[in-house]
């Protein structure tokens, strides 16, 4: 921090927390990266089914998957192309033909793929 100086012990912990959050935000999604995304209590599990960059195929910081791809809103568009997993993705033949139109490169543009509601 440049404009605020932490003075007591708690302020030091707040500053460290903010720094970790900031570093994590800059690292972006980790996917299959081998380095830990930021300091965390639990182990980092780079669990994936592919060697290419498919965001979502990792465990969350607790080693679970609750926050990741299994809930329908987190299913990722590449899953339906090549994965056996019964991913819930929009019907690109009938209702959402342009779903991936803004996503030329999954690595860069995956956030542009929006939710589709019936």
């Amino acid at each position: 921090m440049k404009h605020l100086a932490p003075i007591n012990q708690k302020a030091g912990r707040i500053e460290a927390h903010v720094a970790r959050e900031k570093a994590a935000a800059e690292l972006d999604v980790v996917g299959l990266e081998s380095r830990p995304p930021h300091e965390q209590a639990g182990p980092h599990f780079p669990l994936g089914c592919s060697l290419v960059f498919f965001p979502g195929w990792e465990a969350d910081s607790s080693g679970g998957t609750a926050g990741l791809c299994q809930p329908v809103e987190r299913d990722l568009f590449d899953c339906h192309l090549m994965c056996f997993w019964p991913a819930h993705v929009p019907d690109q033949l009938n209702h959402a033909q342009d779903w991936t139109a803004k996503c030329a490169s999954a690595q860069k543009d995956w956030r542009k793929i929006d939710l589709v509601f019936p």
Partner: protein, 484 residues
Amino acid sequence: MNPSVATRTGGALALREFHPFEAHGARFLYMVPSAGIFRLDDASAAVLDALAAGPRTAEALVDRLATVHSEDRVREAIEELRQIRAVGDVDAPREEVANDLPPAGFPLSTMVLNVTNKCNLACTYCYEYGEDKIVDTQYGKQPKFMSTETAEESVEFLLKEAGANPVAHLTFFGGETLLNFPVLQQTVAYARRRAAEVGKRMEFSLTTNATLLEPDVIEWLAENHIGVTISIDGPKEVQNGLRVFHNGKGTYEVVLPRIRELLRVHRTRPIGARVTLTQRNLDVLGIFRHLTEEIGFWEVGFAPVTTSSQREYAIDSAGHDRMLHQFEELGRGWLDAALRDEHHGFSNAKDTLEEIHKGVSKAYGCGAGLGLMGVATDGNVSLCHRFAGSDEHTIGSVADGVDRERQQAFLVDHHIRNKPACHTCWARPICSGGCYHEAHVRYGESSAPNLHYCTWVRSWTHTCLEFYGTLAERNPSFLARFDA
């Protein structure tokens, strides 16, 4: 970039919860409820000043401060103030007080044994025997003295409940603790042996009125490294006013030579005095000077008397003001000593500064019923020594262990979450509603917040924050003493 950052810009910003203070020309924020303390620079101070008049957008802040600070500096300052939550979106909901109960298996660190409920004095204001007592100590069901068996069971209870803690603290209390000296001796020997067997260290302390400090007792206290706190109210006329024998005779002449002997012989632990302030004795400075300079106590702690408001010795509003001003003056003495890296025995200042340094943010007024418990003479375990023997405040027994349901009910009832009056107070991280026993005596309900102390607590905390800021500016290395 985190998408949430991108969506943040545009909306109006407003101040969030903190308490500002100044010290030695610098400006600081005491964050609520985290209790973190940050020093402001010119840019962050300017942003806060501009927002004090009302919500503004980041762009409006940049425009307003353009003549003094560059856009980059203003935006950086805003972002940092957001990160510590001093500033936030104007329509962001107020953060609710967290409902975070302590985890199961929380270790017990201190056990207070009421080894007797009998006393050889009859101090008018005593919460245990006086007009506001909550347990019938004279004709009640508890035995007058704790037996060796109960004391040893208490030791076993403490060793078990201490969990993984390497150190356990055993404190002896009364009544007049030294009336049960034989049990004290046996218990210390037993506890030391048992602690060694289970690989822990046991520390001991006691509180006494000093009337029974005979040479053999003093020698035993010194040999066994027992921490000693003496209940004493000050110079002769003060001490003899309310601290009297049953026949009404004052105690000063009896305790003074014994205390002098204790201070001369017992050098293994610092010895402190604990003063009860009442409407009749509020000369904090005079009492402190007498107890430290003239008698030689290492430190002195002051506590206002616990009593219902109608007692003639209850401290009234003007008395609270007087007490506060004297605390502030004595506190300045403490600060001057700290700036010179010297010891000063005003323990109230030291204790508050330590909590400020660590950034303590409490969900409970104290550790009673959790990290600290009291044991009555019959072995019943209560929230703390002040409730020993009160059925309403019993949470188990040393023989049968803690009644987890009652303990849980207590923890839910007494959590700051259930003290809505505290939720808007900036001093809640350090106060959290205050003493349960004080609340019980004052309001008939141990879970009530001590609203009669609010102004006092905020004023004293603010003063201590200023002391802390001054030390941080002028002698920061002193604060490392609180690092442990």
